[in-house]
Subunit: 156 residues, 2 copies
């Protein structure tokens, strides 16, 4: 069952607590500010990739500015604390990374209701290596997302 997709909304993934997260900031010589704490808290509550606008909307009005969320996500991405995903709708989505998790996984997205299921197993290492050597490339990575229609939408 290891490769089975994760159940949405159950938050089974381990999420570091806030002090743990802010410590990472401090280690990176970054300041721990109110907006950043609010953003990290908001991120912890998510179990799926969220867009910046969505994240912003979960914040108490006045917690911080939209531009600050953008800046914070850049910062966190640079510190490998979040991972950016792209579902092809021209909107960046982010997930908080757990310790030691490189965040490499994919998603199955319902094209009608946007339900997201996490796909944990990725068997592309060998293909990646093959592609690298065949084309003389190095540092080859990939982006992969699945799209389809979920059972609920199909029933409609």
């Amino acid at each position: 069952m290891g490769s089975l997709a994760r159940k949405p909304d159950s938050l089974e993934r381990y999420q570091a607590d806030l002090p743990h997260l802010t410590q990472k900031l401090r280690r990176g010589s970054r300041k721990i500010t109110g907006p950043r704490q609010a953003i990290l808290e908001a991120l912890r509550r998510q179990s799926h990739p969220v867009s910046i606008k969505e994240l912003f909307d979960t914040l108490t009005q006045g917690d911080c500015d939209l531009a600050t969320v953008y800046r914070a996500m850049h910062l966190l991405e640079g510190m490998s604390m979040v991972k950016r995903f792209d579902f092809g709708d021209r909107v960046a989505r982010f997930e908080l990374l757990s310790d030691g998790d490189d965040g490499h996984h994919h998603h199955l997205v319902c094209t009608q209701c946007a339900e997201v299921v996490e796909i944990s197993d990725c068997s592309m290492q060998e293909q990646e290596a093959q592609i690298a050597t065949r084309n003389g490339f190095t540092h080859v990575t990939h982006k992969l997302e699945f799209f389809g229609i979920c059972s609920a939408c199909r029933a409609l």
Copy 2:
């Protein structure tokens, strides 16, 4: 992604000639206009996905308006005459589809110079099917692109 320095196109892929293409338009009860012919001609010259802006720049000034190119690409996409690709830089890129080609292939993109190599073999059908049944989804498709550093950029 860097700016593009497109290499001379090899054009190995079969590209239908213009009359053949405009016939498809006619079959779809679409009008054959000057701008559309110019756009199709410009598309035929490409052997890799091009952004709308790039395509527009290859047109003789005055051939048509940028907005018209956008509208034409929507039209052509809806008629399955072009396929849209997404390299994660928030810019849509398009490729002309050959007859009978569903356009399912992937690309290897250099993150420094934006060189693009087409990856033709895709062995994900079974994984796709697996993911569909495991999660109760239907009509499952995927988007997959590879990124890396090409030999030229590596040498710099």
